[in-house]
Symmetry: C2
């Protein structure tokens, strides 16, 4: 048992130090490794396979709405980055600059893309001429670079993987519709696949994207009560179209500017999965995104027929992502590893089970043990995976709701931020000054103005003037 103990002892408990627990899990579950490049992580097979599942599912959903994938260069010439004023101000301080190609200095330096609005706009200005060329609904899967000082695996790194959608439309209505459509697609995906409930809403002007008219967001609550912005969708209006001169001839032969959107999700989602579902034994993965859904662990595998039976069961479970752990480690060690890696179901099969034509299914999320007849294994596995997926979402929603508070007075608000980690719902007058005050005095930021507005008071929680909207506030990653 020494080995098993060692594996579990390697994780700090989340109650003791949540940040350290997180770091331990990403390392011990072999999701990432640190690299020789400051702030850049290596996505190991266990981590990258989660991203592949996210990609596959999102990409299918994108294409169902008419999205086409493209690939843009990773470099942006400095003059191109500077074309949209707010945008360059937002990104220039945190980009990596390429100054030399081969042995020679470049005539104009280029940054590694922190995001690709400028490249898409430049391309759109070349290919959009007529109303027949619209809409353009493009997306790309790539990595981007932002020169962050403080980094953390998945949550904030110098380079990260993401998708970025960039669209151009004939009308303002169509652009707004696409912005909201993608935000809802993101939220549905997170709930259906990652089992993470989302608050959907609009960012305040202070928190919106550099160059956007409006930014919409989905916000999740982590186990420690901090918020995580999990995806954003921006309506650019005609701003970039003016800066990049993207015009089309409409049906009446008049020149019009296009209306644009952009929207993105990143490997940060993996951080959300870890911090919403994980426990003190490691990762807990929702079945729909787990690279391995079922781990078969043979018991007393040296005994005749055990490994053969395990292989037979793997064959029968071909509809799922299933593996057999037939290494020479002890069963206890294998259990710990399966738990650490968050594999949703473990199937234990030993000589006695075989004799009794049964197996033991162990749920990772609840540790419940279910003895099932081998005759019915496929159906049982399917049923248990469905239940796990459903209950993980329910538990996350209960946790989120139990950690969502409301405040109508500033003192009450300050106490809530200080003592009850979670979302705080409070009314806001719409002034940036109050947002600034709240941030300075409490450390909480406005997460969003939710689509589902409630009127919990008439007056702003900060200044007491007439309230304009309900805002979700919270400390955030």
């Amino acid at each position: 048992m020494a080995k098993e103990k060692k594996l579990v002892e390697a994780i700090t408990s989340m109650e003791e130090d949540f940040a350290q627990w997180y770091t331990d899990v990403v390392k011990k579950a072999e999701l990432i490794d640190y690299s020789s490049v400051r702030g850049c992580m290596i996505l190991r097979p266990g981590g990258y396979a989660i991203w592949e599942n996210i990609q596959k599912e999102l990409d299918t959903r994108f294409k169902e709405t008419g999205v086409e994938n493209v690939y843009m260069p990773m470099f942006i010439p400095e003059s191109l980055l500077q074309k949209e004023k707010d945008h360059v101000e937002g990104f220039a301080p945190e980009v990596a600059w390429v100054t030399h190609g081969g042995l020679e200095p470049l005539q104009e330096r280029m940054c590694v893309r922190p995001t690709s609005e400028t490249l898409f706009c430049d391309h759109y200005s070349n290919i959009i001429h007529s109303y027949r060329d619209l809409p353009k609904v493009y997306n790309q899967w790539c990595s981007v670079v932002r020169w962050e000082k403080t980094t953390r695996p998945f949550l904030r790194s110098v380079e990260f993987l993401w998708q970025e959608g960039h669209t151009a439309h004939a009308t303002a209505e169509e652009a707004e519709e696409r912005t909201i459509q993608m935000l809802n697609l993101y939220a549905d995906f997170c709930e259906d696949i990652l089992a993470i409930p989302m608050v959907r809403g609009k960012k305040t002007d202070k928190e919106k994207f550099a160059g956007a008219k409006d930014t919409y967001t989905i916000e999740a609550l982590m186990h420690d009560g901090k918020a995580l912005q999990s995806g954003t969708s921006h309506n650019f209006g005609e701003g970039f179209a003016h800066a990049f001169d993207i015009q089309y001839t409409d049906k009446d032969n008049k020149l019009q500017y296009v209306h644009q959107t952009s929207w993105g999700m990143t490997t940060r989602l993996i951080g959300a999965v870890i911090m919403v579902h994980g426990d003190n034994s490691g990762l807990v993965l929702p079945p729909k995104v787990a690279p391995v859904q079922v781990m078969i662990v043979p018991i007393a595998q040296h005994k005749e027929g055990v490994l053969e039976k395990a292989a037979e069961l793997r064959g029968r479970l071909g509809a799922f992502r299933v593996k057999v752990d037939d290494t020479d480690k002890s069963p206890g060690w294998k259990f710990s590893e399966q738990e650490m890696r968050g594999i949703p179901i473990r199937i234990e099969i030993g000589p006695k089970d075989i004799e009794e034509n049964q197996a033991v299914i162990v749920r990772r999320d609840t540790r419940e043990k279910i003895v099932v007849s081998l005759d019915n294994l496929e159906n049982e596995v399917e049923k248990v995976l469905d239940v796990i997926q459903k209950e993980m979402l329910e538990r996350a929603r209960e946790h989120r709701d139990a950690h969502t508070y409301q405040a109508t007075e500033f003192e009450e608000f300050k106490e809530a931020v200080a003592t009850k980690p979670g979302f705080i719902k409070a009314m806001w007058c719409g002034d940036k000054a109050c947002e600034d005050t709240i941030k300075e005095e409490t450390g909480a930021t406005s997460r969003c103005m939710p689509f589902k507005q409630e009127e919990i008071a008439d007056t702003c929680v900060c200044c007491g003037k007439k309230a304009k909207s309900l805002v979700y506030w919270g400390k955030a990653y």
Copy 2:
């Protein structure tokens, strides 16, 4: 007809100017667009979708052999790049250097990866300890950057998309086996999916990869008789393991160096598809890699029932990648577009066809028209797509074989290179001096020493000394 004429006239004929024909096709078939970044291209939806199909098929084949995907940082610190001597000499002159992060200069400059051996080796030295950790069979899908002076869409660009596999093994035999396995996987993929026959062989020392013990290659012949290196697989032996100190404890508790391989294919393959199969009407795509396999063109679509029937047929052909062109362009224009984009099958359906319960299938590759009963449409489409795929490979093989020559004397060799574009088979003594002479005097390079060796003479075609092996020579992209 003015419009149709214009579309076709936009392509230079390949007999007149093959290079210009190529450029016209990649632009007019909307595979790429040029960008504001020198030497970097934009992969448009039509081009990127081909890459997606290549990725999907290759990735499935990789995983069947035990490959796991990972993601490494895009930056390499200068000191890391310098660890393996031959490797840094090969790549340092053509990398892009990042010197500033945000507003500050970096302490150590970093290059954007031209290839990632150094990063994988650095990682392997951290995670490989025991024989139990072997083999590691990792791959990544990403883009790389090489500061090329002269660039050409798909064939040679500053940034390009590729996959790079990097493996570590306990024994030399296992590494060699993996090197050959991946080369054969590449060649089979190119023949099965891209309908391009490959010569499989080994590179001479002069042509091998910087840092490799042996490089294997697959070489294809383009329509203009030039060769295209289409994929490579390298056996590194223990070279990188020594440079990066990658050692493991074997079963006898002794420290051993690992044996490594790497292998890659790129978007260059799309260039090969264009130059092997294209014609003067544009692209011709093999059905297995075509983003759209069937384009249904309604004839007299304003007449009652035509668009409805076209939509019904699309529904029935759901097993294929199928679209209906119901835009307000003329049928002739639609035909030209379908041909330009290389869509394997066009189905024409008009009022008369509907009356007679038939449709006309037109093959893109041969332009053959086949009248089929609507009752049997699904089977007919499947059959025709299969035949196209098969015959495209056959035609490409016939063209390759008809343009493969042999020479035993140097004069004969020189004349062949000058007058007959294609592969030239000739014997070689094994000396680099002869390889250099041949390149200087003829412009042809050694493409490979094919696995299928023949002895067409006893003596080297260049120096007349005893020959060691048969070599395929040719001018190359």
